[in-house]
Every structure is written in C-alpha cells, then in structure tokens.
C-alpha cells in the first residue's frame, strides 16, 4: 500500500494484482489467438500441412506451455465474471476482494484435474 497520500495510483493487494493478471493473460491470449487462427488455416492448404502444424502442439515442451495457456484462459474467464459482478452487482465492489479469492479457488479446482489429464495425454503417448 502507498504510504504517502500522493504516492501512487496503484494500491496493491487483490484488486490491483487481479487487474494486472487480467491484462497479462489477456494480451497473451490475443497473441495466441492470432497464431491459432493461422495454424488452423492450414486445413485449407492440405491435410498434411494441418497435421504437421498441429503436431507442434503435441510436443512435450509445447504441451507444458498449453497448461499455461489454459491457465490464462481460466483465470481471465473467472476474473472477467468477477469484473462484471463488481460493475453490475450492487454488493460487487464490497466483495471484490473475496471474489478474487473465489476466482483463484475455482481456478485451482479446475486446473488440478486438467493438468493431470492433459499431461498424461502429452507424455503418455
């Protein structure tokens, strides 16, 4: 927290850090989306071109990066719902801090089974 009244706009804690994470995950997803539309466009070239492109996603290292990607999607999705609640629910601003922890709880709840299943798909073949 800023100690001086004229210190900074950035107040730290759940509100600021969820905002920072929302921006970072958002930009990450936008750049991935750009790449993802181009790799999918390979279906218009030939089945081989598409299969080669999608083979990259089955590489173990890229498979690990997909965990980060899905993590970015889930955080951005749940925190987006939190933002909507802060804006439109009359009690939203009062509970924004608790809702950040709910977002993180839901995130962990879905990420744990996903990571197990996805990594066993990536490394189990």
């Amino acid at each position: 927290m800023a100690s001086s009244p004229a210190g900074t706009l950035y107040r730290g804690r759940e509100g600021m850090w969820s905002w920072v994470a929302h921006r970072i995950t958002g930009v990450t997803l936008f750049f991935f989306l750009f790449a993802h539309v181009i790799d999918t466009a390979m279906v218009r070239v030939s089945p081989e071109a598409y299969n080669t492109a999608v083979e990259t996603y089955k590489n173990p290292l890229v498979g690990l990066m997909e965990v980060g990607l899905v993590g970015a999607v889930l955080f951005h999705a749940f925190n987006g719902i939190r933002i909507i609640l802060v804006d439109f629910w009359s009690e939203g601003p009062r509970y924004q801090r608790q809702m950040t922890w709910a977002v993180l709880g839901l995130f962990v709840l879905l990420m744990v089974p996903f990571v197990i299943r996805h990594l066993s798909n990536v490394f189990g073949h």
């Binding site: 921006r23 958002g26 930009v27 997803l29 936008f30 989306l33 750009f34 539309v37 181009i38 999918t40 466009a41 279906v43 218009r44 030939s46 089945p47 598409y50 299969n51 999608v54 996603y57 089955k58 498979g63 997909e66 899905v70 999607v73 889930l74 999705a77 987006g80 719902i81 933002i83 909507i84 804006d87 439109f88 996903f114 299943r117 996805h118 798909n121 990536v122 073949h125």
Partner: protein, 145 residues
C-alpha cells in the same frame, strides 16, 4: 475572432462532439466476455479434455467437427467475439501506455490490420473448408459420395 467564449457558470453541461463509443465498447467487453466464457471453455472441453485430448487433433478431427453446422457457428462466433474482444482490450492497453501520438497511431494501425486479416482469414477457412481437399482422402464423407 480567436477569443475563447467562456460559458456562463450555471449553463448546462453539453458534451461536445462525443458519442457513446467508449460506453458501447465497455458494454461489449462484458457481453462478449460472458459469451466467450461458454464458447472457449466448451471448445477446450471438447478438444482437450474429452477423448485423447491434444493427441486426437488432426485433419480428420476438424473435418468431423465442421461437418456439423453447430460447430461451424460455434467456431465462427468464437473467432469474431474473441478477436474483437482482444482487439478492444489491446486498444485500451495501447491508450494506457503509449503516450506519443505517433506510437499510438502505429500500434493501433498494426492492431486493426492484424485483427482484420485474422478475422477474414478465419471466416474464409470456416466457410470454404473442404474435407475432401485431398482427392485420395479415405475419410468416410469422401469415399461415400
């Protein structure tokens, strides 16, 4: 005359040539965001969770999905909403951090161009997809006709 006219203190405030663009884009982020939660998580569930997950993805998998108008519309909606949502998000970020006029203009031009190309390319791919693009295809849709 280059004198600035100062309005009377009690005169009502009139917004100049402003419009509701920023309000509408703010609303769009919330509306499209809500739809994208369903569309993207559904996409991840079908492609990464069900079956063999990432290992099942190949040309035949895409052909199987896009044989149904349901998934064509799903993917089309996802493409348009996600690109416009992302474009608008990046526009906000450029407005926040790029302070020089020239930098803002360059970054936004690049952003709008990349968005336009991606949306047009993706839309064309969905609408012109041909599961039998390979004449020697052994996919069921191609051998049965």
């Amino acid at each position: 005359m280059s004198l600035t006219t100062i309005p009377k203190p009690r005169s009502p405030y009139t917004a100049g040539k402003s419009n509701n663009f920023e309000l509408n884009s703010w609303l769009f982020m919330r509306g499209s965001g809500l739809l994208l939660v369903v569309l993207v998580i559904g996409h991840l569930f079908v492609n990464l969770w069900q079956g063999d997950g990432i290992q099942q993805i190949d040309f035949a998998f895409v052909a199987g999905k896009w044989a149904s108008p349901f998934w064509q519309i799903w993917d089309l909606a996802m493409l348009w909403l996600a690109m416009l949502h992302g474009m608008n998000g990046l526009r906000t970020i450029i407005n926040d951090y790029a302070t020089k006029g020239g930098t803002r203009f360059t970054l936004k031009t690049l952003l709008y161009f990349a968005t336009f190309v991606t949306v047009v390319l993706g839309t064309l791919v969905i609408f012109t997809f041909d599961p039998c693009i390979d004449p020697a295809s052994t996919l069921e849709v191609c051998t049965n006709r």
